[in-house]
Each structure stands twice: as C-alpha cells, then as structure tokens.
C-alpha cells in the first residue's frame, strides 16, 4: 500500500469500528465491543507506526469536495512529521485509554457499553481527521466533530441533569470557537484565494525570514493578523484557555477515560496543534502570536490558582490540564514550537496517567471523587499510588520524569530571550505557575494517599483495579519515567529527538540552553519540589497554618473560579434568554403578528361600521388589506415612473 492509502486507512479503522458498534453493537456479545472498541484504535496506531518508520510524507487529494468559482476545496490529507507525531499521540495514548475503558466501563449495561465505545471511536476518527486534514475546511470539520464527540461523552450519563447541561455548555462554547475558525478561513480565502495549507502557506513562504536574509516588507499583515486572531478564537475555545475555558471543569461530568483521552491528552491540545500548524501565519502575524503567549501564560497561572482550592480530584486535574495547556500556548506563542509539542507529548503521558490512576481510585472508592474523603490509600492501593506519584512528580517537574524536561524546556526557551520583554514576562508567569503547580499537586497527592483514612471514606478495604485497568496505567507510568530521555535539552546537553523530528514541519528551534538557563531550571524545580513537600506539613501534619488563613479573600476568589461562570451567566445566558422571551412577548406577538391581525380586524370593523356587507368577514378582511397594499405599490410605481 502506498502512503495515500495508508493515510486514509488511519481514518477508516475508527470509522468502521464506530459504524459496527453503533449499528449492531448492543445486539452482539459484549466481547465484540471489547475487541472492536480499542482494537480499531490500535490498528490505526500500527498504520501510523508504518508511516513513521517509512518516514512517509506527502499531500494526497482524494476527491473534490466542492468547487464554486475560485473556491475550490479538495478532500486532501497532509502527511508530514507533525501530523504523524500527532497521530502517534492520539492512537498510542488513545489506544491505552480506550483499552483501560474496557475495564472502567464494565458496570454499564450492554447498550450503554457499546454506545460508549462508539463515541470513543468517533472521537478518535475526528481527532485524526483534525490533524491529518490538508486544508482549512476539513480542519474545521475535524475541529467540530471532536467537539461533537466531546459533547456526547460529557453527556454520556444523560440521566444526570448536570451532565446534560455540561455537555451543552461545552458544545456551545466550542461552536463559538468553530465560528472563529470559519471566519478566519474566510479571511484566508479572500486574501489568498486558496484553502489548502500547501497553497496558502506557499504564498506566505517568501515572507518568512531566513536568518541570513533581510525580511522582505509585509504588505498584507493586517488581514493575516485578523485571520490569526480569528483562528486563535477556535484554539482558545477548544483548548479551554481564558476566556473560553469555563466548559472544561464541567466536562468532568463525563466518565474518567473520557477525561483522560479528550479532556487531557488529545482534544484540548488541538489549539496547540493549530498554532503549530499555522506557524507560517503566526510567524508573520506578530500581534496575534504575542496574544497566544499571553493567553497561555495568564491561563497557566489562573488555572493553577483555582486548582489549589478544588476538593474533587478530577477537578484538580481539570484545572491542572488547563494550566499545562497554558504552558504549551506559552511555548508556541514565543515561537518555541517543538518545545510546545514536546510538552504536549509529555503531558499526554503524565496527565492520562494521572486521570486513569484517579479513575482507579474513584472505582475503588465507589465513585466518590472528594479527596477529603480519601486518605491513607498508599498502603492499600500500592500500584495505583506509585503510578499516581510518578504522574504527580512529572507534573511538578521533578528530574528525571518526563514533565521536568518538557516544562523546563518551555521555561528555558522563554528565559533565553532577554531582549524580548514579552518572553520574559511570560517566563515570570510560567515560573510562578510552576511553584503553584508544586503546591496543588502536593496537596492532591498527600490528601488522597497519605495520612490516616478519612472517617467519611466510603470503602474501608479498597481493592486494586483489575489488570485491564492497571496495565495501561503502568505502561504510562513507565513512559512518564523514562520518556524524558528522548529530549534532555533542558539540561543543555543530550538528545533532542522531538525537536529534530518536528524540524521539517515547524522549523528549526533557535534556543540553545546556556548556564543561566540551567540554573533557572534547577531553581524552579527545587522550589516547586519544596512546595510539594510543604503541602504535607499543611494538610497532613497540620504543623503549618493553611495559607488561606492569611488571605481568606483569595481563597474565596479561587473557589468561585474568579466569578467567570456568574459573569457569563449574567452577560450572555440571561441576555439571550431575556431577548428571546421578551422579544416573543413584546415584539413578535403584539407588533409583528399584531400588525397583521390588527389590519384584518380594522378592515372588519370598518366593514361593519360602514354597513358595506354583513356576510362573512373573511372576504373584506382580505380585500381591504390587499387593496391597500396594491394601492401603495401602484403609487410607488407611478411616483418613481414619472
């Protein structure tokens, strides 16, 4: 098979799985669902590996989707190192998570069980389409379809009102992002009369400066800025960055494997992919590019502070995800694209690990998610606890776990641009966030696993998860432990496999770690680790007073999530409902409809009072109205005709 067929095959496996499970799944024996659900993801993984080892690349057109004047959109897939990289993450980590779900979803009845894997396979297909699409329109198609799968899976337990509302909120906020992408595509088309990446970026290429050549003047940067900002709306919505972030914490209503796959490892990182894929645009559109970094830096710190006060273990992880994606935005925003993608990979490892380990805990605790009701799980669930610890240390950024290398590379890249005040400013945000991360991670870890069991704990003697749920966790724990050694640039030496692999897609990265960066790196790590340990003193030993005693207002601010939900409810939801209801009651019914009915009634009344006729009102009703309109029309015609 050639590359073009293989690329299509990557997409076709999950589609086939979804169709099979949707059509017949719950009538077939459950074992079919267990094999087909994860099996098709692994099949795509194998195909992706084939492409990876063959160093495949190319832009393949399959059919003309639409052609209208000069608006020509093919269905084409772009295979390059960036899309292969993303496909590896999606199918590799995704395969582990979907396999894990075979065990996690076991208590569901047969129709729901098959429905779950149908949605998961639809999601994997959509995400693969998103990263493989070779033009803006199919990017939007994949973009919207991942939002749809996310909607289905958040609302998977649809008898819960909270899940249904969370699903709708996620869908509508993502559609706002989709509209941003659609308008961005309009700008691109109007400017460049093309929709494929190849054609658009080909027209941009001469403007990308090479270091040894002077930059040619940019003539149309304002439309590029507009396009880049509109695309950023899509990225921000999908990746739950400020100000379109409020759906992600609510999305934790979905089953935990969904949180791991969609709301941690893959879909929410699509915004990072978008900026990376569109880097020829962002390299020129400097204001939009700066906005990416600012959004990322602010979200990173913002979400981390909220994570400090959450008590639901999945919500801590949700805010942590938002914060870590903020780091990725920060990275791609300062032009350190491959650092952003390395953190994407690293985060997929350790956050999927954390979510799945948390899922094991939640299962063992009879679906209790409140960390205050855990405590002392370390001895009872040793494998899960160790895995969770590895994930936590990786999140904090402790050497040698993968999170250390990826996060410190981002911070190093921002730190190493002293002449760029924006990079330095976002570095400060990133640095503080790293410290806050150490603290909230420590709080989560100690509260859940250390100390004595909480008196409110629902299960006295919990059981470790079955192998199908444990093995994927252990594999990810192993990856989180050793994965960092594929790129040790944060230390200033060693391999840089991710940078090298992505170089053809996102360009060569200029940062070379010097001594001062390495010092900053270790200072960050040590301070974050100390805060991780300090949380033990506050929450377990209780020898230190909680920080919130000193600043109660801050705790309240964090607990209410900076009042974003209340604000949006007041500004958008209520306004829209008010306009709709008020419009119906005060304009639609009395004015727009009333005018017509009123004319008819007036005619009727006139007819009666003039005693023109007493027979059935309908004729007059029509006659007077119509005659009036026709007279007006004739008058207009005569007036303009003369």
């Amino acid at each position: 098979m050639n590359t073009s067929q293989l690329a299509l095959l990557i997409l076709l496996f999950p589609v086939a799985g979804a169709i099979l499970l949707a059509g017949r799944g719950w009538r077939l024996p459950r074992i079919v669902t267990k094999i087909v659900g994860p099996g098709v993801v692994w099949a795509s993984f194998v195909v992706t590996l084939t492409l990876f080892f063959n160093s495949a690349s190319g832009d393949f057109t399959y059919w003309t989707w639409i052609q209208s004047g000069d608006f020509n959109v093919p269905f084409n897939l772009l295979v390059d190192n960036l899309s292969i990289f993303m496909c590896l993450v999606i199918t590799g980590v995704g395969g582990l998570i979907v396999t894990y779900a075979v065990g996690y979803m076991a208590p569901e009845d047969d129709p729901s069980y098959a429905r779950f894997f149908t949605y998961m396979d639809v999601f994997v297909f959509s995400m693969l389409l998103l990263v493989l699409a070779g033009n803006f329109v199919f990017l939007i198609v994949g973009w919207a379809l991942v939002g749809l799968s996310s909607y289905f899976l958040i609302g998977f337990w649809y008898h819960r009102r909270s899940a249904v509302l969370a699903a709708r909120k996620a869908f509508v906020m993502n559609v706002i992002g989709d509209v941003g992408m659609i308008l961005g595509t309009f700008v691109i088309f109007v400017t460049y009369h093309a929709t494929t990446y190849a054609a658009v970026f080909g027209q941009l290429r001469p403007r990308i400066c090479l270091t040894y050549l002077p930059c040619p003047p940019i003539t149309d940067s304002s439309s590029l800025e507009l396009a880049a900002f509109l695309l950023l709306v899509g990225a921000v919505a999908k990746s739950a960055q400020i100000p379109l972030h409020t759906w992600l914490p609510d999305a934790m209503e979905g089953p935990t494997p969904v949180s791991a796959l969609i709301h941690a490892a893959t879909m929410v990182t699509a915004g990072v992919y978008l900026v990376g894929r569109m880097h020829p645009i962002y390299d020129v559109a400097v204001y939009a590019h700066g906005a990416v970094a600012i959004v990322g830096a602010v979200t990173a710190l913002f979400a981390a502070t909220i994570a400090i006060v959450q008590t639901d273990i999945k919500r801590v992880l949700a805010y942590s995800t938002m914060s870590q994606i903020g780091y990725m935005f920060l990275a791609v925003g300062v032009g350190a694209y491959s650092a952003g993608f390395f953190h994407l990979l690293s985060h997929a490892f350790f956050k999927a690990l954390l979510f799945m380990a948390a899922g094991n805990v939640i299962h063992a605790m009879n679906d209790e998610q409140d960390m205050r009701k855990y405590g002392g799980l370390f001895r009872q669930l040793p494998r899960t606890s160790w895995s969770f610890l590895i994930g936590s240390l990786s999140l904090v950024g402790v050497i040698p776990f993968v999170g250390f290398f990826s996060k410190e590379q981002i911070l190093g890249a921002a730190f190493s641009k002293p002449d760029d005040s924006l990079a330095l400013a976002v570095w400060v945000f990133g640095f503080i966030t790293a410290l806050v991360t150490g603290f909230y991670t420590g709080r989560m870890w100690w509260m859940s696993f250390a100390g004595k069991p909480s008196p409110e704990r629902p299960v006295e003697h919990p059981h470790e998860a079955p192998p199908v749920m444990l093995i994927p966790v252990l594999i990810l724990a192993a990856l989180a432990t050793i994965g960092g050694f594929i790129q040790t640039r944060a230390l200033g030496f060693g391999p840089r496999l991710v940078d090298d692999f992505l170089q053809t897609a996102v360009g060569k990265q200029s940062w070379e770690g010097g001594a001062s960066e390495v010092i900053a790196t270790f200072a960050t790590m040590i301070l974050a680790t100390l805060l991780f340990l300090g949380a033990y003193r506050i929450y377990i030993q209780r020898t230190w007073k909680p920080w919130s005693a000193a600043v109660p207002w801050a705790q309240r601010l964090f607990e209410r999530k900076y009042y974003f939900d209340e604000l949006y409810d007041a500004i958008f939801v209520r306004t829209m409902d008010g306009l709709a209801r008020g419009g119906l009651r005060y304009i639609e019914e009395p004015v727009i409809d009333g005018a017509v009915v009123g004319t008819g009634e007036l005619a009727e009344a006139g007819a009666h009072s003039l005693s023109l006729t007493q027979t059935g009102y309908f004729r007059n009703y029509v006659l007077v109205f119509v005659a009036g309109a026709v007279v007006v029309a004739i008058l207009v015609l005569v007036r303009v005709g003369s």
Binding site: S68, I140, I182, V190, L584, V636
Partner: protein, 480 residues
C-alpha cells in the same frame, strides 16, 4: 414533453385520485409521485453541466397578442429544486396515514400542490411563473383549511391567504409593470434579464417583487404567517409545504428579483436592505426558536432563521453565495421535513409536543433517539453534514461582499445549537418522567426518513455532486 409531464402528471393524477375510493388513494398517489420522481431524476442525470442556458426547453405560444408563451426549461438554478420537489412528494404521500378522513382528497390536493410548485421551478415565462405561483397556493390554502390541525386551523389558513394574496397581487403589478416599462413586449425571463429598465423603474419594480418574495420566503418582519401556518399544517403536508414551497420565495429572489433588476437603487439601495433583513431573520428566528416550548413551533422558527442564510447568500451577488443559497435550499428541504416528522412521531408516542414536559425518552426509544440525533445535528449545521456546506458557502459569499453582515449572520450558527439542543436534550435526556412512550420508531417510518438521512451524509461529504450542475445568476450573467 418531459418537463410538461413533471407538472402535468401529478396534477392529472391528483384530480383523479381525489375522486377514487380512499383505500386506493395512497398507493396510486405513491405511484404517481414515484413516476414523477423518475422523470425528474432522469432530467437531472441527462442535464448537461456547464451549459449556460435553459435545457429541455418547451415553447408554445399561449397568448400571442401579449407575447405570452408556454415556455418551460431547467437550468443550474432550478434543476435540483425540481428533483427535491418530486422526492419530497413521494415521502409526503407515503407519510400520509391511511386512517385520515378523506384521504383521497388530501392526497389529490397534495399532488396538485406539488404540480404547482414544479411549475414554478420550470416556468421560464414571467406570466407562466405567475400562473403556477397562484396555482400552488390554492391547494395549499384548501389543505390548511380542510385538513389543518390545532385549535383554529381556519384562522391560520386565512392568515396565510391574507399574506400570500397580498404578495401575489403585488407580483401581478410587478409582472405588468415589467412588461410595460421595459418596452420590449416580452415575458421571457432570459430576455428580460438582458434588458434592465431604468434605475427608478428598477427600484420600484424590485420593491413589488421583493415584497412578494419576502412574504413568501418569509423574510423578517413578514414571517408571522409562517408559525401559525406550520403549526396548523398536518405533518405530511409540511413535508412539501415547508420543504419545497418554503423555497419558492427564495427562488423568486434568485430567478426574478436579482437578475431582472441588477441595480435597484433609488431612495435607498435594495441590495443592502434585503441582506440586512436576512441577517435580522437569522437572529430573530433563532431567538424566537429559543423562546418556544412547542417543538413544532420551535422548528417553524428555526426555518425562519435558516431561510435568512439562503437570502443572505443570494444577495451576496457572487458565485459562492448564490450556489450556497441553492445548495442550502436543497439542504433545508431535506432537513426540515425530517425535523417535522420526528416531532410528530414523538408527539404521537407521548401525547405532547412540549419540550419541557418531555424527558428521558432516549433509553426508551433508542433507535428514534439515534436517528433524531443525526437530523438535529444536520439542522444545527454540524460540519460533515449537508447544512454546513450551504451555511458555509452563503456566509463566505456574504463575507466577500460585506464582512459585517456575515459576522452577524454567523451568530446564528452559535444560536442554532442552543435551541436545537434544548429541544433534543429536553425531550431525550434527563430522568424519565411520566408514562413512557408507546414505542420506538416503526420500520416503515425509519424507511421513510432513510433517504433523507442518506442525503444529509452524501451532500455533506460530496457537495460537488450537486454544485457541479449549478449555475448562479452571478456566474451566468443570466445567459446573455
């Protein structure tokens, strides 16, 4: 004679069926509709893409003194609407319950209405267009009056007549005005498009035609007949009434108002007024849909919103916008009947159409829920399904002409999931309340919507199959 058969066959068949015993009516009706669909499909298959002009033309002098011809033809604007009309007629007749009182009259009238609509899309002579336009309204009025449901169907029928008669008479004024003021003594649409009257005349004639079409479309603020008419209309009627006749107004804009009056500028510029009203319709229709609890009314108002996209695309005056508008007419014609059918089926099983009185139906009617999901997703413009293509193209066209209008119109894309999901989730999800539904979807009903579902996917994945036959006014310059 091919095109004549497309309207004459259902008309003759309809008259015949109205007077045969009811128990044969449905199946004879299906036969007539299927043969018509076969002929229409054959025309589409034999249609030569890229040919600028009308194809399959038939021309016979009708009133020679006034240069009126019986002149039919199809081009890239009308071809798919003819096919859509034939397809939906089959589905509408199939959806008619045999238990309906006077079912033979109902099917007879439905076929007659279908004949009138086919004639509107086929006519190439302005007078003939007007005659068909009137002819399609008469059966629609009787259908509403005699077979309407709800509390006061007669009142809805009167309102409908009031509006449409006003529009028709305005159009008659316009038809006469066009003949008088162009001075070329012709009603041939292709010829008229090449001889635009003076700016002032254009301004006035555009006004009467545009008002007629704005009422029929309907365009904000002339839409108040639509909710009451759709509420009163029985569901099989809605399949073609909303699915096809709802497009006649937009078709009129595209076929007559835009090409015949390319520069309707006088006291103000109509080329900006109409798209502004279209954007208002998008937003207003969506807001009104959000405020509705009755699912049938909600779908009716969503139709107002969707028609706004079509008119916005037509008045983009470019290929993308106008082809998008034609595509969206077809898409909306596929989606809206499916929505009305599902609302009716849910109401049949639960006894209510109030979205807030329903909950938790999904586990008790899983297949219905699954298929309804696809229809709802198509209706809210999910990329990958058909409606996205049309909305994308109309907005793209509008963006090329006026980015601000397109950006405001795009707000409609955000509001669509709000009302659609409120309806869908309200009925399907949540804790089950009250008595369960009396059953899942029946095999026959599933078969009825299957062609529509297939088309939602097919057009979403390969819209080029349709657009490659399309010409737009902007592209053709209407056959100079």
């Amino acid at each position: 004679m091919t095109l004549t058969a497309i309207w004459l066959l259902p008309l003759v068949g309809g008259i015949l069926i109205a007077f045969i015993p009811p128990r044969f009516a449905k199946w004879l009706g299906v036969l007539v509709a299927l043969v018509t669909l076969g002929i229409s499909g054959g025309v589409a298959l034999a249609f030569a893409p890229g040919y600028h002009g009308y194809q399959f033309t038939e021309q016979v002098p009708w009133i020679p003194q006034l240069h009126v011809f019986y002149h039919l033809g199809v081009d890239g604007i009308s071809i798919w609407l003819v096919v859509l009309n034939a397809l939906l007629t089959v589905i509408a007749v199939l959806a008619t319950p045999l238990t309906m009182r006077n079912v033979n009259r109902f099917i007879g009238l439905m076929l007659a209405m279908s004949a009138g609509m086919a004639g509107v899309f086929l006519a190439v002579d302005l007078v003939l267009f007007y005659v068909f336009w009137e002819a399609m309204l008469i059966p629609a009025y009787f259908l509403l009056w005699l077979f309407g449901e709800g509390e006061r169907p007669a009142r809805a029928a009167i309102k409908f007549v009031l509006f449409t008669l006003t529009g028709s008479l305005l159009m008659l004024v316009g038809v006469i005005g066009e003949y008088v003021f162009t001075g070329q003594q012709t009603f041939d649409l292709a010829k008229l498009a090449t001889i635009a009257p003076s700016a002032n005349i254009q301004f006035g004639l555009f006004f009467v035609f545009a008002l007629a079409f704005a009422i029929k479309t309907p365009l904000f603020p002339f839409h108040s007949w639509l909710p009451s008419a759709y509420l009163a209309a029985p569901t099989p009627m809605l399949v073609t009434f909303a699915g096809v006749m709802g497009k006649a107004g937009a078709y009129g804009f595209l076929r007559i108002a835009v090409p015949l009056f390319p520069n309707p500028v006088g006291w103000w510029d109509w080329r900006w007024v109409i798209p502004s009203l279209a954007v208002a319709a998008i937003i207003w229709g969506a807001l009104m849909a959000i405020a509705q609890r009755d699912m049938k009314l909600l779908v009716a108002y969503s139709s107002v919103s969707h028609m706004g996209f079509i008119v916005l695309g037509i008045f983009a005056y470019n290929v993308q916008g106008q082809q998008g508008a034609i595509l969206q007419m077809v898409n909306h014609g596929i989606i809206i009947p499916a929505l009305f059918l599902f609302v009716a089926w849910i109401a049949d099983r639960t006894g209510t159409r109030d979205r807030s009185a329903l909950a938790g139906l999904a586990p008790r009617m899983p297949v219905m829920a699954g298929v309804f999901t696809i229809v709802v997703l198509a209706a809210l413009g999910l990329p990958g399904l058909n409606s996205f293509v049309g909305e994308f193209m109309t907005l793209l066209g509008a963006w090329e002409r006026a980015p601000v209008l397109a950006a405001i119109g795009a707000v409609g894309l955000v509001l669509a999931p709000v009302y659609m999901l409120r309806m869908f989730q309200g009925a399907m999800y949540g804790e089950p309340v009250g008595q369960g539904p009396s059953g899942d979807i029946q095999a026959g009903q599933l078969a009825l919507v299957t062609p529509l579902i297939v088309l939602m996917f097919a057009i979403g994945l390969y819209p080029y199959a349709l657009t490659q036959l399309m010409t737009s006014v902007a592209q053709a310059g209407l056959y100079k």
